[in-house]
């Protein structure tokens, strides 16, 4: 087995999550990973996307484990925390596993949780200089504001996670996500 990531399975709620994750990974790895990233097709936006990620996670985790011994695969899960705590969001993923008789994620697995609070747009707007807090509810207006700058900011966030040299004070949920990526950084070197 080589040292580089083979497949990166991306399980996320919506297009902004996907765009963010792709740009973040590209910047982190320094190469275009388009052919290594497999997006789990996102359902239509009308349903509860968070619930869908939870429902889908156990089977993706099982599939990851089947291949983990012979592939450097990575499973990246992106789900907004919203009004809950980070711990509660991770617990909901763990609970979904227990409900499906799947062992919960272990820290030594290449399974990365990206759990922005309130939402991915919170990180982007904070970096943009907006006076926001993690607990500020992100709605339509904010989402629209964040959309066009998503990719550029994702790249800056990747820089921050790798080098930590930004002047802005980042929300705790981003620091947690950075640690998650650092945990699997060994296979994200290209």
């Amino acid at each position: 087995m080589g040292q580089r990531a083979s497949n990166i399975i991306l399980l996320c709620e919506d297009k902004p999550h996907e765009r963010f994750a792709r740009a973040f990974l590209k910047k982190w790895c320094g190469v275009d990973l388009r052919r290594r990233i497999r997006l789990v097709p996102i359902p239509d936006g009308r349903g509860d996307a968070k619930q869908w990620v939870c429902d889908r996670f156990p089977s993706e985790l099982k599939a990851y484990r089947v291949q983990a011994n012979h592939l450097n695969n990575i499973l990246v899960v992106v789900t907004d925390v919203d009004n809950r705590s980070l711990r509660q969001r991770v617990e909901s993923l763990d609970q979904a596993c227990r409900d499906s008789d799947v062992e919960v994620r272990r820290q030594d697995e290449r399974v990365v949780f990206i759990t922005p609070k309130w939402a991915i747009e919170t990180w982007i707007l904070i970096l943009e200089g907006q006076a926001l807090d993690e607990t500020d509810r992100i709605e339509g207006k904010h989402k629209k504001l964040a959309e066009p700058i998503n990719t550029v900011m994702a790249e800056r966030l990747a820089d921050y996670c790798k080098n930590g040299n930004e002047d802005v004070t980042f929300p705790a949920s981003l620091d947690v996500a950075c640690l998650e990526f650092q945990r699997v950084s060994g296979v994200l070197r290209f």
Partner: protein, 375 residues
């Protein structure tokens, strides 16, 4: 980008209006008009561009269940935040197998740039200058687009801007990637790619000179796609050039020289992938309009999503200066672009085509919703 297309009395289109976004997927059953929309834009491109005469709008293109002999097309195009409206009315005489331009006009932000109308059995065209003041009146051949034949000059730069945009529209589909059509040798450079990629080599010769960055990106991508791939080359062969793909031989073969394969020796899927990625990288350098009719045919399942991700990324980077319309039945493609980017086409009771927003059924993927139909 094209912001509105109106078609009346052409095949299955009767008072049909289409308002595409910058990246738009057409979904629906066979025979509902997905490819026909692309056909109409291709026809208008070649007609306005001066490549074809009105003969291409055969009488057999009139809507069969109508007796009306006038066929109408309107195309609204936004270029650099300005709105052009192009109108074309064709008058058919099916008994004599003839047809002629009844009316053709071009308007920029509500002010005229060109107006031709039938007048006493002649096509009389009023030309306008860029400042919309009246220019000369000329009598034109009613089988051709006046816009397509006018000489470019200092006082019709707006009309030429519109014409150049239209001429650059690229239409590609792999409904029939016949290896005999996709030849490896090329006599000359060409701006057109051909509907089935048949002029790819000539087109590639042209873009390789003009967009070296696109060629570098393409080479990098092909190295990831095809194990052992090194480069595309265009060596001379007599008075032609032949497109070849160089591959490193397997190590155990003990050879140091590259193996070369002519473009037509590659597999259907490899050729389609080369064309699709070349298109995107050139499109990134020079945004315009791409019409893709079942581009996924012959492409391995795992290669569809990466190519779509690049298409989406490029469309977002280029903003309003780019547009891609895709027609496809492929579930992989439908699920990736999703309901938000899709428009649903149908022909209730076999009548005129209709187009509307597409929403997946709650609990079903977009592709599964399409597969179950909506009638």
């Amino acid at each position: 980008m094209i912001t509105r297309l109106f078609i009346d009395n052409y095949r299955c289109f009767v008072n049909f209006e289409f308002k595409p976004e910058s990246l738009c997927l057409l979904v629906g059953d066979n025979g509902v008009g997905k490819s026909s929309i692309l056909d109409v834009i291709e026809l208008l491109r070649d007609f306005i561009g001066g490549q074809i005469s009105i003969k291409a709008f055969g009488s057999d293109t009139l809507t069969r269940w109508q007796s009306l002999l006038l066929q109408s097309f309107t195309m609204e195009v936004r270029i650099n935040a300005r709105k052009y409206i192009y109108d074309l009315v064709i008058e058919h005489e099916p008994q004599r197998g003839q047809r002629r331009v009844n009316r053709e006009s071009l308007v920029l932000d509500g002010k005229p740039l060109y107006l031709a109308q039938l007048d006493n059995a002649q096509l009389k065209a009023q030309l306008f200058k860029d400042n919309h003041s009246k220019g000369p009146v000329v009598f034109l051949d009613w089988t051709r687009s006046g816009i397509g034949v006018l000489q470019a000059g200092p006082e019709n730069t707006n009309l030429c801007e519109f014409r150049d945009f239209i001429r650059r529209i690229i239409v590609v589909g792999f409904l029939n990637p016949d290896p005999r059509l996709m030849v490896a040798a090329s006599d000359d450079e060409a701006n057109a790619l051909g509907r089935h990629g048949e002029s790819f080599v000539s087109w590639y010769r042209s873009v390789a000179l003009e967009y070296p960055a696109a060629v570098a990106d393409l080479t990098q991508t092909l190295r990831e796609l095809f194990p052992g791939f090194s480069a595309l080359t265009l060596p001379e062969s007599g008075d032609k050039r032949v497109l070849k793909a160089q591959f490193r031989p397997p190590e155990k073969a003990g050879k140091s020289r590259y193996d070369e394969f002519a473009f037509n020796e590659l597999s259907d899927g490899q050729r389609c992938l080369i064309i699709l990625y070349a298109l995107l990288y050139v499109y990134r350098e020079k945004p315009g309009m791409l019409l893709l009719d079942e581009p996924d045919n012959f492409i391995a399942l795992r290669e569809i999503q990466p190519w779509l991700a690049l298409l989406e990324e490029i469309c977002e980077e280029a903003g309003a200066s780019s547009q891609a319309l895709v027609a496809s039945h492929n579930p992989e493609l439908i699920n990736y672009l999703g309901a938000a980017r899709s428009l649903k086409m149908e022909r209730p009771t076999g009548g005129g085509a209709r187009i509307s927003e597409f929403q997946a059924v709650d609990g079903l993927s977009p592709a599964e919703t399409v597969a179950r139909g909506w009638d």
